[in-house]
């Protein structure tokens, strides 16, 4: 084949430009840390990258949701713990009142403390978390009980606030007031809740000094305590589940970010090797090209 000057030059240009294109590719990869910059660099990697980004963003949001769920439930649990203390104390003084040896003065003192405990119970029923009433079901803007212990709102056990903590996986974070304060039956507005009603009946028995009646009412109080225990146990179980989910989400987050990195991040060592390789090829072609295209017979004619 006849080789002409422009063929030499064209070929040199073609190969130098191919070398530079590859060098640029590795240089881009190293500078951005990513294997691809546009989908056409590698459509498979690109579509995986989009999917993994969404997954990671979702996991992050679910982590936030589980955190929120945990705080809400911890506050509820702490409040129920206080309610438990109130009821324990109430039971102690009720037992005391049931004892026939109390003087009128003692009974008055007991009665006074019992009333204090009742209003404490009502206060606890209206506990708020970040401005939202814990036990008011969906009506988080309204207190559950009025000052006498009557329901301030209609409340149903169905008013479960659910947070999504995974795709298609949600958890009930609240305890509707009807479940805790009305032994699991729905409450009508204006109706007295059973918990306070029990307190009231005992307080009036103490007021009347009828210690036998007081004694007989202890079982009612125990029923309220059992109910409290049931609700706490239920919440505890759900808290456990949230904790498990939270741990799983932490693992998922690590796994998915790792996958994302494997999918789209460059292997630095490999890329640097490739870059050096390309650069030496580039230098070799520069060196040979400069020799080949410089010289012709013209240089040797005198």
């Amino acid at each position: 084949m006849r080789i002409t000057n422009n063929m030499l030059i064209n070929n040199v240009m073609l190969h130098l430009s191919n070398n530079l294109t590859r060098t640029l590719k590795y240089q881009n990869q190293l500078a951005s840390g990513k294997k691809i910059s546009v989908p056409s660099d590698d459509p498979i990697v690109a579509s995986k990258a989009l999917k993994l980004r969404t997954d990671v963003a979702e996991i992050k949001q679910y982590q936030k949701n589980t955190d929120d769920a945990t705080s809400w439930m911890e506050i509820t649990e702490a409040t129920m713990n206080q309610i438990n203390e109130v009821v324990q104390r109430f039971r102690e003084i009720t037992v005391q009142a049931a004892n026939g040896t109390n003087t009128t003065e003692d009974m008055q003192k007991i009665c006074f403390e019992a009333k204090e405990l009742k209003s404490q119970l009502i206060q606890l029923a209206n506990t708020t978390y970040a401005g939202r009433y814990l036990f008011s079901g969906y009506k988080t803007d309204k207190p559950l009980l009025d000052e006498d212990g009557n329901f301030n709102i209609n409340i149903s056990n169905n008013e479960e606030i659910r947070f999504e903590i995974g795709i298609g996986d949600d958890i009930n974070v609240n305890v509707p007031g009807s479940d805790l304060f009305n032994r699991g039956t729905d409450g009508e507005k204006g109706e007295k809740c059973s918990f306070v009603q029990t307190f009231d009946t005992i307080i009036s028995a103490i007021e009347s000094g009828d210690n036998e009646k007081v004694s007989s009412l202890l079982s009612d109080l125990d029923a309220e305590m059992d109910n409290l225990l049931r609700v706490r146990a239920g919440l505890g179980a759900r808290m456990n589940r949230v904790e498990l989910t939270d741990n799983r989400l932490d693992d998922d987050y690590v796994n998915f970010t790792k996958l994302m990195s494997q999918n789209e991040d460059v292997d630095i060592a490999e890329t640097i090797m490739n870059l050096y390789n390309e650069m030496s090829v580039y230098q070799a072609s520069l060196a040979t090209s400069s020799k080949v295209i410089q010289q012709s017979l013209v240089d040797y004619l005198s």
Partner: protein, 559 residues
């Protein structure tokens, strides 16, 4: 030998001088044009001169050498091959460049593309579902909603801009084709005039071939010389140069039919800008562009995956161009907004639409127990002045359009057909949040499924459920739809650049073959130079020798 032979010898030697001089001039011309694009090297066609019949003796007397012509070294087969490949090179070079622009508009994968923006929107809704009364989160949901709408607005606006640019490129390419046609015509006349007397217009022919090189990248064309059947005064048949595009002549010797851009009266695609150019022949015939850069620009400007044209005339180009991506984005916002606002979605995968709770079915934050559902649409469209439409205006508008289109509500379904039709009026361009959400997101974001319950997040839960509804589109959920769109664009982009690389390889290879025949080799020219110089020196030496012979004959012989 007769007495004239000494002079005859000198004449023959003179011819040698002339011939080698001519050779050196040609070397010089070749060397000068080593880097001239399209140039083909020239060689002298040297022959022994017509011999003289010597009277009374046997044989013929050699009369030296003469240059009968200067020829250009060119293989027309390679030219034709080059021209037929250049059209694909032109087409793929345009397409592989434009699709990179499309990819840049989508801006994926990145931290600011669609997947991030839609994830942020859903995250804000999730956040709201953990505290539906939070004013800050309600405002955040509005802002994230605006970001979603703006993303589509911005992508659509960029697509419009790009379509406009491509339209201008179509115009520019048509101008270039016409200009090349005119230049070829001028060259045709010049070449004809030179060659009518039997010369060969080498350099002009090079220029003409070079113009066809360029033209064949712009549009599918073939170029050749045809014999007219007439004979030139020098006895050779008369030839005329013809350039043909899709079977119709662009240049026929001295006649040119230009191409022309006329603005379309009816849009080819619903998504198109107004007044795009249609390329036709100046004489009114329709032009069939099969390949070349022009085809690349037309396909990317008009391509809608080969669906039927909106103006009812044939089909759109079978290529995923701007209208295709606009159409897909429009489809997304239509289904997304309909689902989100109205809850009209195929929820069970039976291929029929169902009605679940949408945003409009929820209740306002401060609703009282006797209130009706809010009826607030989260997303609506921009009105003619570019303002956010309110939900009522939007619903009235689309229902009115549905009525005009003759759509009636089918009582057997639990959704309103007029609404379903109406959402097809949404586009990525006019998609926005509603005036209510914009004015008062705190009150109007309808998170609750029961009136008077501020802490109720069940309507939000219904909206969040739709995110993972895989029956939303044929491609799956909303995000799957966009991901599919983007990755199929990536596949196309990869293919285009592979086609381009292949075509570029073919072109380089063909060009090298042409260079091998037509290119100037300096070594060769130098060798020729030495060759001619030595002959020149030898011929001069001959003349000197004859001079001596004559000197002897004239001055020393005789008396």
């Amino acid at each position: 030998m007769g007495s004239s032979s000494a002079f005859l010898g000198m004449e023959i030697a003179l011819r040698g001088l002339y011939a080698s001089q001519r050779g050196m001039v040609t070397v010089s011309h070749n060397v000068d044009n080593t880097n001239t694009p399209g140039y083909s090297r020239q060689v002298i066609n040297q022959k022994a001169a017509r011999p003289m019949l010597v009277a009374g003796r046997a044989g013929m007397l050699g009369m030296g050498s003469e240059v009968v012509s200067v020829d250009r070294m060119r293989d027309t087969y390679l030219d034709e091959k080059y021209w037929s490949e250049a059209q694909y090179y032109g087409e793929w070079s345009v397409k592989s460049t434009i699709i990179i622009e499309l990819e840049a508009i989508f801006n994926e994968p990145s931290e600011s593309g669609f997947s991030t923006i839609i994830s942020d929107f859903y995250s804000s809704l999730q956040q709201l579902s953990t505290d539906p009364t939070s004013l800050a989160t309600r405002n955040a949901v509005k802002e994230k909603g605006i970001a979603v709408a703006k993303y589509f607005n911005s992508v659509a606006a960029h697509f419009d801009q790009l379509q406009e640019d491509l339209n201008n490129m179509v115009y520019a390419k048509v101008e270039e084709i016409n200009s090349i046609a005119d230049q070829i015509r001028t060259l045709n006349l010049q070449i004809y005039n030179y060659e009518v007397m039997g010369n060969t217009a080498n350099d002009l022919r090079d220029q003409r071939s070079y113009l066809v090189d360029r033209l064949s990248q712009l549009i599918n064309c073939s170029a050749y010389e045809v014999e007219t059947g007439l004979t030139l005064p020098n006895g050779t048949p008369e030839k005329r140069f013809v350039v043909v595009i899709s079977g119709k002549t662009l240049v026929d010797h001295q006649n040119v039919v230009h191409l022309k851009c006329v603005t379309r009266e009816e849009k080819l695609n619903n998504e198109d800008l107004n007044n795009l150019y249609e390329v036709v022949w100046e004489d009114g015939n329709t032009l069939d562009v099969k390949s070349g850069e022009l085809k690349g620009y037309l396909d990317m400007r008009d391509g809608n995956d080969g669906i039927a044209a909106a103006n009812g005339q044939g089909y759109t180009p079978n290529c995923k161009g701007i209208p295709y991506y606009q159409r897909k984005l429009n489809e997304f916002v239509q289904v997304f907004a309909r689902t989100f606002n109205e809850g009209i979605i195929d929820s069970d995968g039976d291929g029929k639409l169902d009605k679940v709770n949408g945003h409009a079915d929820g209740y306002r934050l401060s609703s009282s127990e006797t209130d009706e559902p809010s009826g607030v649409r989260f997303f609506t469209m921009l009105d003619d002045e570019g303002n956010y439409m309110s939900s009522d205006d939007f619903i009235n508008y689309i229902k009115q359009k549905a009525q005009m289109a003759g759509i009636e509500d089918d009582p057997d379904t639990d959704y309103d057909e007029q609404l379903v039709y109406g959402y097809s009026l949404l586009t990525a361009k006019n998609f926005c949040i509603s005036a209510e959400i914009n004015a008062d997101p705190v009150e109007n974001i309808s998170a609750s499924s029961v009136p008077g319950q501020q802490g109720n997040n069940e309507n939000l839960a219904s909206l969040l459920d739709m995110r993972h509804n895989t029956y939303m589109f044929m491609e799956g959920s909303g995000e799957d739809f966009i991901k599919t769109l983007i990755s199929s664009m990536g596949v196309d982009g990869q293919q285009y650049s592979v086609y381009y690389d292949i075509q570029e390889g073919i072109m380089k290879q063909l060009d090298n073959r042409r260079q091998s025949i037509s290119g100037v080799s300096l070594n060769e020219e130098m060798v020729n130079l030495i060759k001619y110089r030595q002959v020149y020196a030898a011929a001069a030496r001959m003349i000197q020798t004859y001079a001596e012979v004559l000197d002897i004959m004239i001055n020393r012989l005789g008396l």
